[in-house]
């Protein structure tokens, strides 16, 4: 049986909450509800730098690398408050959430010194080069290859669905450095790719269902990467990438990315005496409170440096279900057409969230893959 610890009552974190709210109330005062709904995809380097300047990025990292040596709970407060407010997080958060921790854990001293302080300052955008046309859920089937050459690597292959590749400063590339896809986990590595100065690399946009450009196809055609790009140990890429995915799956973003729709719905139904509305909102609130309790339990495990990958998979699975239910539930309570151009905030936010919802149980690992991980954690696989 998996136990989630209760989060401790943390005064420093609660005090910080007030400061973050105050900062956000002016920093993003002019964002419309629709822009707030796009929080995950809202790309604003200035906002990220402002957050970094407040010391609210890389909060748990050592000071030596630009971090602030604060607790996982304090970091949690900043992440959840920025998401609940609908702040644009896209320019910092992949780096802050997973690329930075990966470099901290596995990177070379030079990589840490060069890059971590920039992430903590909110001035370094990362993208994740894991998925490929033929390797989505089956990450070990990766075909992108890096061949050793004099003083570096030559990379050939195609990455797909790479969020923000067109805006990023760096990519952490998962690739094969020896053997063949049949060797599965063996012979895979991670490389730090400079997205600005790498020759032989091209980035092509892939539009999403709503016609927006977030993800990309990235081609490597004999692209040269220097020796210093290797992260960690050659051949140990699989374990490193699994550790990275645990960071990717554990946060409150796994149930807060459509919170704006819930807020608009509550505003629209405020004070309603409809029993249906009351019961429905009661149910959603109970889910939200419970997800928060679970997710803060994951933060407690991380703070204690315990493995939280199964717990994180549970939170992500439950969170994606909650978020995907939201637009359908809103439709059952509101008698109107979703419309992205609508001047009614609820209808615009509903349209946006509906069009994003299919991805909630795909990005960061599909529902089926997560359930496999949970089953393994239960000891039945």
């Amino acid at each position: 049986m998996l136990r989630f610890p209760s989060p401790p009552r943390h005064n420093a974190a609660e005090q910080l909450r007030g400061e973050v709210r105050e900062f956000l109330s002016s920093a993003i005062a002019t964002r419309t509800p629709l822009q707030r709904a796009e929080s995950w995809n809202g790309f604003d380097r200035d906002f990220s730098k402002a957050l970094g300047a407040r010391g609210w990025l890389g909060m748990t990292w050592p000071k030596q690398y630009g971090g602030h040596e604060r607790s996982a709970f304090e970091r949690y407060v900043v992440v959840e408050e920025t998401l609940a407010a609908g702040a644009p997080v896209s320019a910092h958060w992949i780096a802050e959430r997973q690329s930075g921790p990966t470099l901290l854990k596995f990177g070379t001293e030079q990589q840490r010194e060069e890059i971590l302080p920039r992430i903590a300052a909110g001035d370094c955008v990362f993208c994740i080069g894991m998925s490929e046309p033929d390797s989505g859920s089956d990450l070990a089937a990766t075909r992108t290859r890096a061949e050793r050459v004099e003083s570096g690597w030559r990379v050939t292959g195609t990455k797909l669905w790479t969020t923000n590749a067109h805006k990023a400063d760096y990519m952490i590339l998962f690739c094969r450095t020896s053997g063949t896809p049949a060797d599965r986990h063996k012979g895979t590595s991670q490389l730090l790719i400079d997205m600005r100065g790498t020759e032989g690399m091209t980035v092509r946009p892939v539009l999403d269902l709503a016609g927006q450009h977030h993800f990309n196809e990235v081609h490597f055609n004999d692209a040269f990467v220097p020796e210093t790009a290797l992260i960690g140990t050659e051949g140990a890429g699989w374990n490193q990438v699994m550790s990275e995915l645990a960071f990717e799956r554990s946060g409150p973003e796994r149930f807060l990315s459509s919170i704006q729709l819930l807020l608009e719905l509550i505003e629209a139904l405020r004070g309603s005496d409809s029993e249906l509305a009351q019961i429905t909102i009661g149910r959603l609130t109970a889910h939200l409170l419970t997800l928060r309790q679970l997710s803060r339990g994951v933060a407690a495990l991380l703070e204690a440096r315990e493995d939280a990958s199964t717990h994180a998979a549970i939170v992500k699975d439950l969170g994606a279900t909650f978020e995907q239910d939201l637009p359908e539930i809103a439709r059952s309570l509101i008698d109107a057409e979703p419309d992205r151009q609508s001047t009614r905030d609820l209808l615009a936010v509903l349209a946006y969230t509906m069009m994003s919802a299919p991805s909630f149980s795909l990005r960061g690992g599909t529902r089926e893959i997560l359930r496999g991980i949970i089953a393994r954690g239960l000891g039945v696989r």
């Binding site: 819930l262 509305a277 019961i279 909102i281 009661g282 609130t285 928060r292 309790q293 717990h311 039945v380």
Partner: protein, 338 residues
Amino acid sequence: MSDTGALLADMTERLLAEHFDDNVMRAARTGIWPQAGWDAAVEQGLPLALVQGEQGFDIPLGEGLALIRTLGRHAVPLPLAETMIANAMIAQAGLTVPEGPVTLVPECSGIVLRQDGASGEANRVAWGRDARALLIESDGNIALMTAGFDVAEQGTNLAHMPRDLVTVDGPTEVAPLPGISLLEAGALVRALAMAGALETLVELTIAHVTERVQFGRPLSAFQAIQHALARLAGEAAAASAAADLAADAFAHASPQTPIAIAAARTRISEAAGGAIGIAHQLHGAIGFTEEHRLHWFTTALWSWRDEFGSAVWWTRRLGVESLRHSKQGFWPFVTSVS
């Protein structure tokens, strides 16, 4: 958890495993009171585990509440959870903790307090026939009644636990209600017990699919079964976290305790429905038999989720509370609960 807390939890787990074996459980379902189990629980001090101050043992409240979860893990057919929470409130109100089982009669049950005592009738009182004392709430006060009430055996819940008609006319000791209401207190202990029962449901199901072989492989080797188990574990984890939310709020005397209890009852009720469906599916026909222990837990869950306020009543209460807020106020409301 402290060392004493862990020790107490461990001892309680062993005591319950020993005293609530299959025979005792079956007998209890035919109406036989498990006296030996009750005596052992009393000897261990369980009725006083939540009592703070000089009448109790000063066990940290969080650790005491964890014992109620353990009772749920065994679907214990005794009014122990009722007695534990009632005694805690009795002591907190400055009254003297009585001997024997106590049961809760919440506000609006039909019994009212007057200057000289209490009178009226209450339906479906948990373990009425076995209670030595009643704790009654009316108009912001609670009253302890150790004599002057009659009980008519009315029936049972789906788990065969007595739910009786109590008629009251007699003197009481009265004090202002401390902390939360009796309805909320009862709902809290049911939430914790349900989280415990769901743990057992998961354990029974994992054990079954690991042992049961079909098509030459254990059931657990099939991906469809693994995914169903993962969903079951997710629902149980949610129930457990929701119970923690309520218990933590109560243990810290948070003003938002009633909201946390409402959320717990809402989420756990939903989790129970989903979990029971999966557990029975994966057990196949054997789990549907009278013989199998699975049904002690499913029937207890079905019953408990609508006692001390039905699931829909709690859900609506939480919804009304949520809908008092503007879109700016809702998130601060959410974070204030824990």
